[in-house]
Amino acid sequence: MRGRAGPVRAISNFKRRTLGLAALVAALPAVACAGDGTSFLEPAGPIAALQKFHLIQITLISLIVVLPVLVLVPLLAWRYRASNTSARYMPDWDFSHALEYVMWLVPVAVVAVLSVYLWIDTHKLDPYKQIASAQKPLQVEVVGLDWKWLFIYPEFHIATVGQMAFPKDRPVALKLTSDTVMQSFMVSALGGQIYDMPGMVTKLNLQADRVGSFHGVNTQFTGDGFQDQTFTAMSMTNKDFDAWVAKVQKDGIALNEASYRVLGHRSTPDQVHATLGTPQMPQQVVYFNDVPSGFFNKVVMKYTSGKAIPATRQPGAVAYGQAPVGE
């Protein structure tokens, strides 16, 4: 039988390809040369690190099914090319019990293994689950606006736009809502994203295990300034964090109806800084103090009051802030 050459070639081909793929997986960190803490490929916390691990684990397990196809397609296509009359030709052969078992059972086994991991890991990394830690989580309330995030620290009665600071190694428990359209909050280097929606509260638990600055974004398109809806997630030592809180308390302006109305307009952090910022605040950042208790809840509850909200009073709406006709 001339089929002999087949397996030999298959093996050398297989080696070459496995090596190639191994190189590819190894290249993942290289892809992450994105720098400035933008990606979970350079994780800065336990959640993101596990997510990266899962990515690689799932890829490798799935390759059990994927690799044979990548190898066999060129191999079989070449071997059974029409001009190769020495290859065996069986025009009526169309079934084999043994093959059938392999074809169904191998994918079933791979998916079974993946499913077990999926079930366990999905529960382990449930974004609502508090991160186990000796320290009490830091509570931060996030309000999504067009095109900026407002971070409220209820404990300290402060709030910020453009910066979210927290101590390293201490879990951060976020509660999120939106005061405009749906958005999606993500700091990739720390953990995954979660939607924030008007009238609803979602949760996200994050933690950083090193000091640094990480890129935070909204991933859900919300209009012209969407790409500018970024912020810096800053993980710092406890001491630095206390100093930061003190600075915000000192340099902030009051978060009240008037200043919040400015935030409600469609504007980027840059533009908000230009209107509300003071020289003491960094670029693209605004600090607030005197944040009334229950501020976050009020934002959530206004959508459940059972009363209509006209476009002129809906933050993010085109007509927001304009006097309604006839008022």
Binding site: V31, A34, S39, L41, A48, L50, Q51, L55, S62, V65, L72, V73, P74, L76, A77, Y80, A82, S83, A87, Y89, M90, P91, D94, S96, L99, E100, V102, M103, V106, P107, V111, L114, L118, T122, L125, P127, Y128, V181, M182, M186, S188, G192, Q193, Y195, G199, H215, T219, Q220, T222, F226, Q227, K302, G306, K307, I309, A311, Q314, G316, A317, V318
Partner: protein, 695 residues
Amino acid sequence: MTLTDWNPILGRLTLQSLDPLKAVFDPTVNNFIASGAADAVVVGALLGVVLMTKYRLWKPLWNNWLTTVDHKRIGVMYIVLALVMLVRGVVEAVLMRAQQADGLHGGFLSADHFAQLFSTHGTIMIFFMAMPFLTGLINIVVPLQIGARDVSFPMLNSVSLGLTVAGAALVMISLVLGDFSTGGWTGYPPYTEAAFQPGVGPDYWIWSLGIAGLGSTLTGLNFIVTIYKERAPGMKFMHMPMFTWTALCTAILLVFAMPPLTVCAVMLALDRYAGFHFFTNALGGNMMNFANMLWLFGHPEVYILILPAFGVFSEIVSTFSGKRIYGYASLVLATMCIAVLSFTVWLHHFFTMGQDADVNAAFGIATMLIGIPTGVKIFDWLATIYRGRLQFTVPMVYMLSFMMLFVIGGLTGIILANPTVDFQVHNTLFLVAHFHNMLIPGLLFGMLAGYNYWFPKVFGFRLNEKWGHVSAYSWTIGFVLAFFPLYAVGLMGMTRRTVSYTNPAFQPWFQIALAGGFFVLFALFSMGMQLYVSIRDRDLLEAGADDPWNARTLEWATPSPVPAYNFAIVPTVDSRDAYAMAKASGAAYMSPARFNNIHLPGKTSLGVVTAVGGTALGFGLVWHMWWLAILSLVLVVAAFLARTFTEDEGVTIPSGIARRDFDAWMKRIRPEGWSDDTAPEMPGLETAQPMEHAE
């Protein structure tokens, strides 16, 4: 909108809505592109009208095409629509690629223009490229494969086409008058609610896919009934060709999946037009319901798109391997599994909405389950190649690229099915790379393979192989270059639908992707060249076009081009690969003992009425020209009612004509000195173009 901007005749249409004038009001690069596109549509339409008039084509167009109920011609019109829309979709795509290649801290397009581009590109590619393409192929091929003379409801078929055309026309009009939505192809509220987008954009989106979606539902019904009822005598379900099986599954999915889309589009319309609050922020509205319904349609939709492509691949791999398809029963089972499972996974599109881990895990596992039957299909095709005699024709090149690339898309699909990782890559370019990896090598390559494969059946001459190969390779290279970099930038944290970025590490990847865009443009150009060269050389390419590939299924047991009545005598079937069996036993071309008169349904202008009326209705609704909306609705309904009072006499083709056609065909296909129908030179391809045969 305040009442003062509204005019009883023009609705909210004003001079500012005219896109060709944008560059005049405000000359920027961005506006020149917008106005240029608008001018191109207007000039293209005018040019079409002038040429049609010059060559006196209006009458033949009306008689032979617009009013026809012939499933093959309706199929051709669907595919022409798909190819035109493909050109627009690709041009928009390359424009987006160029913007992002230049998008570090800026670029040349405005954010709003970029948003309209991804919204129209996505909407067009799904609803007006992919759907018409697969509907066209199903229309052309399925009745022939099952040995039928037409579909069950020929007039309804014409009306479905009319609805699809009306939807496409609205998207084209949006280039010239007003703006399209910026809410993406998914149109999530509340962003698409009146408070946030008061203009006409979301209304164009709602009505274009609302109207076209109705057409798809009706197509689904039509083909379910056709496949159940019109099969040739003796053809059992397990005798049906694989393409017909996938068409059946797609038709079933259409009937179950399109209504949620229509319903959620109409609910959004009620919010926008009538002050309802299904998906608004206040008054109990909740956008999560929209996401739920949209994806209740949206996930089955991706299988509506991919299954017919799988069907095409099953046909061509068996034909070009010169072999029975391996594991037919497995393939049928796998197709059915996919169709059923496709309704159980929609939640994976919003793992990040805040539901608990049990729900996410259940849907994640359901999603991975679909990978099993899909994997089986790939292995079945491989086993078909095994011990075959594979010919590297254009469709086969598409198929080999598809198998290699599709498994990579499958791998990233499995990755995305895992909520823990999806939390990271959802809404990033990783996801965009994944679905293009399924849609281009899967759906599009399948459609293009089918186009090359069945073209000779429809037009009576083959497509040029050289340009076909050039275009298949360019598509493959273009796809790899355009989308593999997106996997990388996606993992690096680049969000989708993002006009510009500040991270310089992204830029090189986008530049590679732009190069891929140019390859894709070249692939499109090659397809144009292929068509041009083939039409020019059609006399040469005619030889052997009746059965150029030595194929196995019934559609090839007819002359090319296929006569209006398909089969002079409806065949009797008692096995799979009916035509291959007949050829092998020498029974393929037996002259029937007697010919009968053939009765066919008559022409109808209802399809055209639907297309024009549907467009006018949508246009009136978009621009708040209530008189136009009401008038067109009344006229369309009246036309349908009037039709119920007339009787369709149909046309009768005398048996003499059928006999004459048959004899002419036999004279053509039986080579000189013919003695035996099983002779290897029988369908006689060698005379045209050297190509190894599978004997």
